[in-house]
């Protein structure tokens, strides 16, 4: 017997890799061993702080002279800002600083855009920001900002977004990065040998995190040094990104995490509001707290991206599973912010090579990420992958409207049953509730 552990390691390009290590099993405890931990109730170390209200979260930071910020957001999925006038807002009593494209330095953001852009690409994109003596006054000031939008055409369906001639989200088009291809064996040839082929399309919906503590931070400068009390588990990622965006050396940026009211994978990066808090604080020479309210949180702090997945698989009557093919479209939003984008990238390599098989079936995966004008940017979901269990697109073949097809496969003997199993392993996706099976065609 041995103990098997998975050790994470950092590769040269910064990606985490995992190696499996085996060590001999420790000898068993005797039944009357006096154990200090096993079988004992261990009280939560920070329990007292959390039940007394003394645990301090990002939202609870209170600094002398602290201001409160609010963000004006686009009501349009796609529009050009023709005119923006912040004079009345800036003159409102209690307002310290108003930031918009006219008053903010051009901070580079994703895909050749800037922090406050002339073009807004989703409902909720940041248009202007205000800091003031209170949240109420900041909200008053937002109502005084005059913005003239020129609405532009948009498409919200990721499949349509990739068709020729559809409105472009960026000058470079609607494809976010090169499609990822994986192929093994002869799929076309194998398909010709299959006695039964199942072809289905699956749709998974966007999922929002809605942590109890909203996204946000408090930023304060001491000379040229910036401190951010952020609701994030990833202080170094946030530090690096803020430093890069603001053109500061990393040692001048410090990110502090105290307690965090949930993150669920959505708080691992610097969002636009993080940089905005820092910029407001710089201009106002005061600490600035910028916490999103629930609506803003749902619009502009990420989601688990929706997907459209066409899956084909085939089996022979004699018990051989012959191929699996997946065509995946990920809707990553106007600004993809990295990460695995609800990692379906592993679909085939994870699913098809079965160690015990000498002759793995042929497989092919084609994956593309469509930018589209939707209310939310994409999001990396590093924490989620480990928790998805068998919530996979192929599981719909078992549970969804495709059940008759899988029953048919099962009736065809071992190969069919194996095909069903492989289908369930075919797409490691997060499908709770289960994906809707759309019977071969996708409509938004």
């Amino acid at each position: 017997m041995s103990i098997v552990r998975v050790e994470p390691q950092q590769s040269e390009d910064g990606e985490e890799q995992y190696t499996v290590q085996e060590t001999p099993m420790a000898p068993a405890w005797s039944p009357d061993a006096d154990l200090r931990v096993v079988g004992k109730a261990i009280p939560r170390g920070e329990g007292d702080l959390k039940v007394t209200g003394r645990a301090q979260y990002a939202y609870d930071v209170r600094l002398p002279g602290q201001l409160y910020a609010r963000v004006l957001r686009s009501p349009h999925a796609h529009a050009r800002i023709r005119r923006i006038d912040t004079a009345k807002a800036a003159a409102h009593p209690g307002v310290r600083t108003v930031l918009c494209r006219a008053t903010c330095p051009n901070i580079p953001w994703s895909q050749d855009t800037v922090l406050f852009s002339d073009i807004v690409r989703y409902i909720g994109e940041e248009v202007a920001a205000v800091d003031a003596d209170s949240e109420e006054v900041a909200e008053d000031a937002l109502r005084l900002v005059e913005v003239e939008y020129e609405p532009l055409p948009f498409v919200a369906d990721p499949v349509v977004a990739l068709e020729p001639g559809t409105p472009k989200i960026h000058d470079s088009g609607n494809l976010a990065g090169e499609p990822q291809e994986y192929e093994r064996g002869d799929v076309a040839g194998s398909a010709a040998q299959a006695d039964l082929v199942i072809e289905q399309s699956y749709l998974t919906q966007a999922a929002l995190h809605n942590c109890m503590e909203p996204h946000g931070c408090t930023a304060a400068w001491e000379g040229d040094r910036l401190t951010i009390w952020d609701s994030t588990p990833s202080i170094f990622d946030v530090r690096d990104e803020v430093a890069a965006r603001l053109g500061l050396p990393k040692h001048q940026v410090r990110v502090v995490k105290q307690f965090m009211g949930g993150g669920f994978g959505s708080k691992q990066i610097a969002w636009k509001h993080t940089a905005i808090a820092a910029l407001l604080s710089k201009q106002s020479s005061r600490p600035v707290q910028l916490m999103l309210h629930r609506e803003a949180e749902n619009l502009a702090s990420g989601n688990r991206n929706p997907t459209v997945q066409r899956v084909r698989l085939g089996a022979k009557r004699d018990g051989t599973f012959v191929f699996v093919e997946a065509d995946l479209t990920l809707a990553v939003g106007a600004y993809m912010v990295g990460g695995e984008a609800s990692d379906v990238a592993g679909t085939l390599p994870d699913a098809v090579p079965l160690p015990e098989r000498q002759d793995p079936p042929a497989g092919r995966r084609h994956e593309h990420r469509a930018g589209r004008r939707v209310p939310r940017p994409g999001l990396r979901r590093r924490g989620v992958r480990a928790r998805v269990g068998d919530g996979r697109a192929g599981a719909g073949a078992r549970d969804g409207p495709a059940r008759p097809a899988t029953e048919e496969l099962r009736r065809r003997g071992p190969a069919g049953r194996q095909a069903v199993q492989l289908a369930r392993r075919a797409a490691p996706l997060h499908t709770r509730p289960s994906p809707r099976c759309l019977g071969g065609s996708y409509r938004a």
Partner: protein, 179 residues
Amino acid sequence: MHLVSFRLNGDERTLAVEPRRTLLDALRVDFGLTGTKKVCDTGDCGASTVLLDGRAVCSCLTLAVDCEDRVVATVEGLARGDRLDPVQQAFVEADACQCGFCTPGQIMSVAALLAEQGAPSEEQVHRAISGNLCRCGAYQNIVRAGLRAAELRATTMTPTRPAPADGATQAGIVMGGRR
């Protein structure tokens, strides 16, 4: 600005506020009592729950100016020094918090229940916390904590107080004294 005076965790406090300032913001910003949490700010989640005249209310839906001459209790007012209130002790024992952001609201909802019902049923605990969302999903332990809190009040709190003639009202007296 309006002057408003109320009893807050046992002390008389007076505050000048705009009429639109919520009790929640008054507590968190003006008094610096950040134990009460701001989450939805629209009464959906219960994280801002405090006791107003002994009843659980969402402080985000209560205007500060409406609290004149009333009695407000927040999570900061429960413990005495390092000695936790039975509800707090029960939440620690039952491991009823994960991220902890909903915890103060949950605790105040349970405290309001126990002030009225010293030995609640599980269903009564369910009902008491039904307005408090927990995104981590600690509900099972929160319910356990609610039941455990009733036990702790019945046992550990009794020796510290003179025994009242009617045992059923004992818990309410303890809470009343604290406020």
